[in-house]
Amino acid sequence: MSNLAVAVQDLSKKYGDTFAVSHANFEVPMGTVCGFVGPNGSGKTTTIRMLLGLISPTGGTGEILGHSIKHPERYLASVGAMIEGPAFYPALTGRENLNVLATLGGYGTDHVQSLLERVGLGDRGNSKYKTYSLGMKQRLGIAAALLPNPKLLILDEPTNGLDPEGIQEVRDLLKSLAQEGTTVFVSSHLLSELELISQHLVMLRKGKVLFAGKIEDLFLAQQPFILVKTPNEIDLVKIQEIATSAGHKSTIRSGVAHIEGPAEWAAELNKSAFAAGITLSQLSPMLPSLEETFFEMTGDSE
């Protein structure tokens, strides 16, 4: 048995002349939380649908829990999934909707109530799905994904429509599932949302995998910088000269100097500014967010 929950090689999906997913290669180790990130339309959902046997790849191969994605019937009993938002029967209650899927999957309906409670719908299970808010629908979708007590949980944008409290609850839920040994593959178009919970990341843009690996590797690529403000904007030019003479690149944007350099150099800069008679109103060592690093790596400032 491989220690990979997901492994894809050259996985592609083409519609007409356009690649929705182009030669994707990535792996998700067992027992990790792996973020699957990319802008809307980058091919995340198409990839997930291929992994779940809902659409056929145009090329390439893939394995889920050691089984080829050509035979989803061999692994889907151990996979929970929510794809492209929740989808249920509006005229049935939340509980009845879960009962339909539990019966279909052969899991029995005994633990439906505990799942409803786990996602915070314990007291709304008997309400019709059509009366649910977007956040409640999303929670029901997560409960449905947990029905098979999955080894691998695949969630597509699970926090869409949730309020900040709900987002935190989903994060906590995913963390606790990972601690119990479930591999979680979770997609989002917001990298900031995933950096808090993921150990691995797969980044997709325009159907191509731009980064796949440990999140630490992405942190290592982060370039620290220092933000400097002066009461007199003319002094910023002098600050820029000091930075350049010390070998640090800098730019001035919106009355603030952005200087590339480690936090330790801030003290040196402060000393040099004082010596040059410049008063600083702000001196802040910073790290770019993973999102900024991602765009830096991909050369995309959109």
Binding site: T46, R49, L52, G53, L54, I55, S56, P72, E73, L76, V79, A81, I83, E84, G85, A87, F88, Y89, P90, A91, L92, E96, N99, V100, L101, T103, L104, G105, G106, A144, L147, P148
Partner: protein, 268 residues
């Protein structure tokens, strides 16, 4: 067999079919339509405008035969068929419009098993519907026979029981055939409104216009053939012809839609 048919698909589908609005609504509609057709058969027995469909006259002598008990029931088969077509089409196509098909396929990735289980559960729903319709029709027939001065002695003989079994089987076949057409349309069009509209407009309007223009077309029109099965054959279309051509239409349609269903990407 277990590889082809999974009881859990059947049971899961029944969880949807038994929701009160669908179950009670459909049963009331079936009972109401059959009751109406049967009532008119007896209440208008002396009407010069006729007491059956398209102004046909079914006389007291015919109603007093062993088969008279089930004439109202078999006359309502076309309407029961339309109800079945709507239920099968809606239950199938709504999986696309609600986006729930992806959930079903993740839990049951063997697509043909899913389709077969769904079909069998809807067919069993049709059985319940036809049993109820038969019960309502026969109860009304007995209830209204006195008022219509129809003797019922022949209705309680073994011949009548044989006629009942035969008519029940034919009506059930007819209703399930209509339902199968609904499922085929649901899978093809992937929209309940489109599937039901096309089915009902074709069966109730287009076919009738075509047959009115050229009566011989009735031998080839699927709706007419399926209704003919329920009545056990007519002077224009034999039972064997109706069964053979209905089966042929349904097999061709089923092969097309199962192939599409098995291979088509589920991207909604």
């Amino acid at each position: 067999m277990n590889q082809i048919f999974k009881a859990q698909v059947f049971r899961a589908e029944w969880r949807k079919l038994r929701r009160p609005t669908l179950f009670i609504g459909t049963m009331l509609a079936s009972a109401g339509l059959t009751g109406l057709v049967t009532s008119l058969l007896f209440l208008l027995i002396d009407s010069p405008q006729g007491n059956s469909d398209r102004g046909n006259m079914i006389s007291r002598d015919i109603l007093q035969l062993p088969s008279g008990l089930t004439i109202g029931f078999s006359n309502a088969a076309g309407l029961l068929g339309i109800v079945a077509l709507c239920v099968f089409a809606a239950q199938t196509a709504q999986e696309y419009t609600y986006g729930t098909l992806r959930n079903l396929l993740v839990r049951q990735p063997r697509r043909l098993q899913l389709l077969l289980g769904k079909y069998l559960s809807m067919a069993s729903f049709a059985v319940v519907m036809v049993i109820l319709a038969a019960t309502v029709s026969m109860s009304l027939a007995f209830g209204l026979s006195g008022k219509a001065k129809v003797a019922t002695d022949a209705w309680v003989t073994s011949d009548a029981l044989h006629e009942l079994a035969k008519t029940f089987g034919n009506v059930l076949l007819s209703v399930i055939a209509f339902g199968t057409v609904g499922m085929i349309l649901g899978l093809l069009l992937r929209s309940p409104i489109s599937a039901i509209s096309l089915g009902v407009i074709w069966l109730l309007i287009v076919e009738n216009i075509l047959i009115a223009v050229k009566a011989s077309l009735g031998k080839w029109m699927p709706g007419n053939l399926m209704s003919t099965i329920a009545t056990g054959g007519t002077s224009n279309v034999s039972y064997t012809h109706a069964i053979s051509f209905t089966a042929m239409y349904l097999v061709v349609g089923t092969v097309i839609v199962t192939t599409l269903f098995k291979r088509r990407d589920v991207s909604n």
